[in-house]
């Protein structure tokens, strides 16, 4: 956290972004605003059809907004699309690899399109700097013996790794990932996250992630929850949780009437159901428990997860 506050200037600025598709009655994205600081890990959460993919498509310059302004690394996405593209890396939801080509060819073509190296038809004729960069990245991900194999032979996890290697080749300041772990087994998912953490640590890359796995958003610096094209909650996962759900204490006693009397006397607000529910603001659990003298048969605190908060928000009224 200390590091992100040092580099405080926003690398992504979104102001009143609106997208209405041609012929559509409602806007897919409706006047949303947020900003992401350099080096931050940002997640955009939301159910299907909430506007996540529309937002990420606009931010990555493949879709034009109807209204609003977006700047990435200081460049306007409309007026300087090419500069924006040079500064971002993207991991698409659908695999973006040519399966009949080798892993190295997939990487090489990317490198040339981003202007890093001249075009050469074979690996051996590429400049030495390229060969070194590729073998270093491949070694880092344990793919050093696989680079000359066709991607067809790769597992889902290996393909994702390869896409990440490729997207980092041009050292983007922001890496966009659109549900990157969908369809991966738990082991591949974990390895991928470890690698992304390492990338953030070593290169300070800003990460912009859309996901429906809430545990992936729990470790974000900032989370935005989007629903029906609007942002319904934003902040750190802790803030989102406290904005949207309540932490409470459940207590009960053999002698319920004595406990009820005592809580009233102590002026502690409660609701009585199958037990006594007391809303908590900050760390007051100890103070409350200490004050109660009636012998208690149940003491339980309820601390909601981000998932609880998320389900709370997206549930239909």
């Amino acid at each position: 956290m200390a590091e992100t506050t040092l580099k405080a200037q926003p690398i992504i600025e979104v102001e009143n972004l609106t997208k209405r598709y041609r012929g559509a009655k409602d806007s897919a994205v409706n006047a949303i605003s947020f900003s992401v600081r350099a080096g931050e890990f940002f997640t955009l959460l939301g159910p299907n059809g909430a506007g996540k993919t529309t937002t990420i498509s606009i931010l990555t310059t493949t879709l034009n907004p109807t209204a609003g302004a977006v700047r990435i690394a200081g460049y306007d996405i409309r007026r300087a699309a090419s500069a924006v593209r040079q500064n971002i890396g993207i991991i698409f939801q659908q695999p973006s690899l040519d399966f009949n080509l080798t892993a190295e060819e997939n990487v090489r073509f990317h490198a040339v399109l981003y202007g890093l190296y001249p075009f050469r038809p074979t690996f051996s004729t590429m400049p030495r700097a390229y060969k070194q960069q590729v073998s270093e990245l491949a070694a880092l991900l344990g793919l050093e013996h696989e680079m000359s194999k066709t991607v067809k032979k790769f597992s889902g996890g290996m393909r994702r790794k390869l896409e990440i290697i490729r997207s980092l080749l041009h050292k983007p300041s922001v890496l966009f990932l659109d549900e990157p772990t969908a369809g991966l087994d738990p082991v591949s998912r974990r390895t991928l996250w470890e690698y992304l953490r390492q990338v953030r640590r070593e290169q300070g890359t800003t990460i912009f992630l859309t996901t429906h796995y809430l545990d992936e958003a729990e470790e974000a610096d900032q989370t935005c929850i989007i629903n029906h094209g609007r942002i319904v909650a934003s902040g750190s996962p802790e803030q989102v949780k406290s904005q949207l759900t309540e932490t409470y204490l459940l207590i009960d006693a053999e002698n319920r009437s004595q406990l009820r009397e005592e809580l009233r006397r102590l002026k502690i607000e409660f609701t009585e159901t199958t037990s006594f529910k007391i809303k908590l603001r900050g760390g007051e659990v100890q103070r409350i428990i200490k004050a109660i003298e009636t012998p208690l048969s149940l003491v339980k605190t309820h601390d909601p997860s981000l998932e609880d908060a998320y389900l709370e928000i997206i549930k239909e009224p």
């Binding site: 493949t62 879709l63 593209r85 993207i90 040519d98 399109l113 981003y114």
Partner: protein, 259 residues
């Protein structure tokens, strides 16, 4: 320089994808094989024997031009759903100009179609067509011209389509009538005025006729097979190429930005 490297990369990728996919290579050569060997062979044995008209050569030259024209234009039209497919997704978000994408695609599909041309030469030879070295060179350069022309035709089609479904529905109706109006298999020297009009607005007609200009040069049956001279065909194709390319690219790039 960077945009030139990008054009080369895109073109090379298209060629490599074809060469690494034997199933696709074989399936793309299936129709030329059927047309030349089966259709050409049967026309020859039915109508050709005893007459002075050489159907095998006529169908071979027609199919040569038709395959290259169609392959190049279909290849370019595939840009329509490329943003949702494989490595092409990367191409659309990379910092290269949209004009570079079009140029790379045109060059790439030309290479792909010229690879098919080699197969067609083999089929022609197997069916009994004989060619001199000069004729081979002629087929080579006219083939490249036809590919570029077909690709530009693809660009103008592409710029007027919105999705893959429309493309799949519309494309056969744009291509198939041209097979007959361009005289790929059937002589079209004398047509009723309305068919003649339709024939003259079919771009494929000029591609087919250019191939026959080259191939029949100096032969006694030149007058039976050829409609107009090479200068006429080349001029028309050049003008149409430029019009298709500039209007098509302009519309495509504009649509790209207004999605």
């Amino acid at each position: 320089m960077r945009e030139i490297y990008a054009v080369l990369t895109l073109a090379y990728r298209d060629l490599l994808k074809l060469l690494r996919d034997p199933t696709r290579l074989i399936s793309e050569l299936m129709f030329p094989l059927l047309f030349i060997v089966v259709l050409g062979g049967s026309l020859q044995s039915t109508f050709g024997t005893g007459s002075s008209f050489d159907y095998i050569t006529y169908v071979f030259t027609g199919v040569f031009a038709q395959t290259l024209f169609q392959s190049a234009s279909m290849g370019v039209v595939s840009l329509i759903d490329d943003r949702e497919n494989d490595f092409s997704q990367e191409v659309f978000v990379s910092p290269i100009s949209r004009y570079t994408i079009i140029l790379g695609k045109i060059l790439g599909e030309t290479l792909v179609a010229m690879t098919q041309a080699l197969g067609i030469l083999v089929f022609g030879f197997l069916a009994g067509v004989r060619f001199s070295f000069g004729q081979l060179i002629g087929l080579g350069w006219s083939g490249i011209v036809i590919c570029l022309f077909g690709a530009a035709f693809g660009v103008i089609i592409l710029s007027n389509l919105n999705n893959r479904r429309t493309a799949d529905q519309v494309f056969p109706y744009i291509m198939l009538p041209q097979f007959f109006l361009a005289g790929v298999f059937n002589p079209i020297r004398s047509l009723p005025w309305y068919l003649d009009f339709l024939s003259r607005i079919s771009p494929m007609r000029y591609a087919v006729d250019l191939t026959r200009d080259i191939f029949y040069l100096g032969r006694t049956d030149y007058v039976n097979a050829v409609l107009q001279g090479p200068v006429y065909n080349l001029t028309l194709m050049t003008v149409a190429f430029l019009v298709f390319l500039f209007i098509g690219t302009f519309l495509f790039v504009r649509k790209e930005q207004n999605r």
